[in-house]
């Protein structure tokens, strides 16, 4: 593959960072909720949607982004946010509900917002799709060559906002790339029980835009397809729809018994863990030495540990600050 080495290394490093960040969160999330799981308890309460296994779609997009490019992500936003380069400390602090968080603790893990990098996410399915269209509209009106990337799950592709957003983006020829993370499930509902066609990428024809399927959960495959789509968008040639088959290794949210997926299925995902597969491949292909790989792992883990320490050691917001920020 003729991909710059630094891109390969960055993608792998970021995958390591994302995975370790989520592993740490997961461990902390459960630590003080067990034995009798209480969703309201502990350092990190509330719903927690982790993206372990879905790193490729995020890191394969990252190398093609430039300053000002907008991303709207979903209720499962960490992998994308980290790939785009959000301040890991302030992101972690927000997830811990601290005053040093991106939203001073008001938003939490489903509501991470940042001006630069230009990132937003949401707890409502497909809510970010029209917002990405609007960001792209602003770029066009302001004569910027930025693009907007809308990430959404395969379950979101049956929400009306999907249809309205793709039609508007195509109609107005806007620089948007719609990236569907197809992890085959919407909570417990498998794609075949929710979607009348096998591949959402085929729905692009309903809007006269290109639709491309990325059949493997591989950063390089994502990299190549997204490069195309972003180049197209930056050149003023309009939006694209991409669907990436990926794996959600863990439950829908932490605490999910995940009984709706068979052990076979879950094991098979484990066996093909993109993080391991991609790391091994970079070794085989000589992109990385074993030492490089260890070095990366150590650096990434340190960065994550620092961010989490920062979050833990940050102060809570003052209770009465709840009344602030309703209006500017």
């Amino acid at each position: 593959m003729e991909i710059p080495k630094d891109h390969l290394v960055d993608m792998y490093s970021t995958m390591v960072k994302i995975r370790y960040f989520e592993e740490r969160l997961r461990e902390i999330y459960f630590a003080d909720k067990l034995p009798a799981f209480d969703i309201a308890a502990g350092e990190v309460p509330g719903e927690m949607h982790l993206a372990a296994g879905q790193e490729p779609v995020a890191v394969g997009t990252m190398p093609h982004l430039k300053a000002g490019d907008a991303i709207t992500a979903t209720h499962r936003p960490h992998h994308v946010a980290i790939a785009q380069g959000l301040d890991l400390k302030r992101m972690a602090a927000e997830i811990f509900g601290k005053d040093t968080g991106l939203g001073h603790g008001k938003g939490g893990h489903m509501h991470l917002f940042s001006a630069e990098p230009n990132f937003g996410c949401s707890g409502i399915i497909a809510e970010g799709m029209p917002v990405a269209v609007g960001a792209a509209l602003a770029f066009k009106k302001l004569g910027k060559d930025n693009v907007a990337i809308s990430f959404f799950g395969e379950g979101a592709a049956n929400q009306g906002a999907f249809h309205e957003s793709l039609n508007l983006a195509a109609l107005w020829n806007l620089p948007v790339v719609f990236i569907c993370e197809d992890n085959a499930y919407a909570i417990s509902v498998p794609k075949e029980a929710s979607t009348a066609v096998p591949d959402n990428s085929d729905r692009a024809s309903a809007y006269g835009m290109p639709g491309v399927l990325v059949p493997e959960n591989d950063p390089v495959a994502v990299y190549e397809v997204v490069r195309e789509a972003i180049a197209r968008a930056r050149a003023g040639d309009g939006p694209s729809l991409i669907e990436v088959k990926t794996d959600r290794l863990w439950g829908h949210f932490e605490g999910d018994a995940d009984a709706y997926r068979t052990d076979e299925f879950k094991d098979s995902m484990g066996d093909r863990d993109a993080l391991v597969v991609f790391g091994d491949r970079l070794l085989e292909e000589g992109v990385l030495t074993a030492a490089d790989r260890e070095g990366i792992t150590e650096r990434m883990h340190n960065e994550v540990d620092e961010a989490i320490d920062f979050a833990r050691n940050s102060p809570d917001p003052a209770p009465e600050d709840a009344l602030l920020h309703v209006f500017a």
């Binding site: 009798a36 799981f37 209480d38 969703i39 309201a40 308890a41 309460p45 509330g46 719903e47 509900g97 601290k98 968080g101 939203g103 603790g105 008001k106 938003g107 939490g108 893990h109 489903m110 509501h111 949401s122 707890g123 409502i124 399915i125 497909a126 379950g155 979101a156 049956n158 929400q159 009306g160 906002a161 919407a186 909570i187 417990s188 509902v189 029980a193 929710s194 979607t195 605490g255 009984a259 709706y260 809570d316 917001p317 003052a318 209770p319 009465e320 600050d321 709840a322 009344l323 309703v326």
Partner: protein
């Protein structure tokens, strides 16, 4: 009764039992919604029902609320009695047209010729750091719009009886369960979420409030989880020699205005507690009801405790600051008695 009422259930199990018994009784009853099948509903309202009734009567849907709630309307006007689940009431914004402009108005537009017998059930409420798009109650929003009944049980007994009434009602009924009253194993333990529930089917009338605790010094009118908060507060107040009556409104539409007036005429003081946003909502309506019907009985201006018109924040310290709780109610009650 005495024997059967010994059986205790959580509110969640009481709801699932009510649905199951009605599905047994009436072939035309079926349920549809996201993750109500193998998952049993995120909050367990359809737990075990897929195994009992199969996928034709317990239908998982795509994430298409406008589509499947609209479809429930069409099924209801064509001979069936659907129970549609909107997973969180916070999601109403993606499907509100079908709910308030269609489901709630067809009977009126048709001059009574077309009935829409359906239940729309949904989870509400916060207190577990699920942030501003998964913690709202929003019942005031629905109660403001004519054409649907709005039912909000606070305990297992009422939950079963009101669900059976809702399913048998020939009108659209919005059935709202607060996550905090369900007695879910993965939520903070709430003893008041478990209680006696008769095994046989029974109904609780829609539109009748209940006195959850008798008192003489003031009336605390509230609904759903805040009834529990008010009962906790009433116990603390009793220790201080204050006798609080707790009125569980149970339904917002129809609103049992007589029960509010009766209690206020007795206690002469009214504190309204709500987990919904304060302004333009339930607290104002209940206070206005008291003022319209019992003005001369009021010894002090009615007071209210509700979410102070801010989105529900994520961080625990912030969320707890805006939520009603027993301490705030105790303080509010004492302030009311000293004015």
């Amino acid at each position: 009764m005495t024997t059967t009422t010994e059986r205790k259930l959580t509110t969640q199990k009481a709801i699932a039992e009510a649905i199951a018994q009605e599905m047994d009784r009436d072939e035309t009853v079926f349920a549809l919604g996201e993750d109500i099948g193998v998952y049993g509903g995120i909050f367990g309202a359809t737990e075990g029902l897929l195994d009992r009734f199969g996928p034709d009567r317990i239908m998982d849907t795509p994430i298409s609320e406008t589509g499947f709630i609209g479809a429930a309307i069409g099924a209801a006007t064509n001979g069936l009695r659907p129970i549609a689940e909107l997973m969180f009431i916070d999601f109403f914004g993606v499907c509100m047209d079908q709910i308030y402009n269609n489901m709630a108005k067809i009977h009126y537009f048709s001059g009574g010729n077309i009935k829409v017998p359906m239940v729309l059930m949904t989870a509400a409420g916060g207190g577990y750091s699920d942030a501003g798009q998964h913690s709202q109650t929003l019942w005031g929003t629905f109660a403001h719009l004519p054409g649907m009944k709005v039912v909000v049980p606070s305990n297992p007994y009422d939950a079963k009886g009101l669900m059976i009434s809702a399913i048998r009602d020939d009108n659209p009924v919005l059935y709202i369960f607060h996550k905090g009253v369900l007695g879910l194993g993965w939520m903070t333990n709430n003893p008041r979420a478990t209680g006696p529930v008769p095994e046989e089917p029974y109904t609780v009338p829609i539109g009748k409030a209940a006195v959850a605790r008798e008192g003489t010094d003031l009336t605390i009118a509230t609904i759903s989880l805040s009834v529990h908060r008010a009962l906790d507060a009433a116990e603390q107040l009793e220790a201080d020699g204050i006798s609080a009556e707790v009125l569980d409104l149970r339904c917002l539409v129809p609103l049992d205005r007589e029960a509010i007036l009766e209690s206020v005429r007795k206690t002469h003081r009214l504190l309204v507690v709500d987990e919904d946003y304060q302004s333009f909502g339930m607290t104002g309506e209940v206070i206005t009801t008291a003022v319209e019907g019992a003005f001369d009985y009021l010894d002090s201006p009615p007071a209210r405790i509700a979410i102070p018109d801010v989105p529900i924040p994520y961080s625990r310290v912030l969320e707890q600051y805006v939520l009603p709780d027993a301490d705030k109610i105790v303080a509010g009650a004492k302030a009311l008695l000293t004015t």
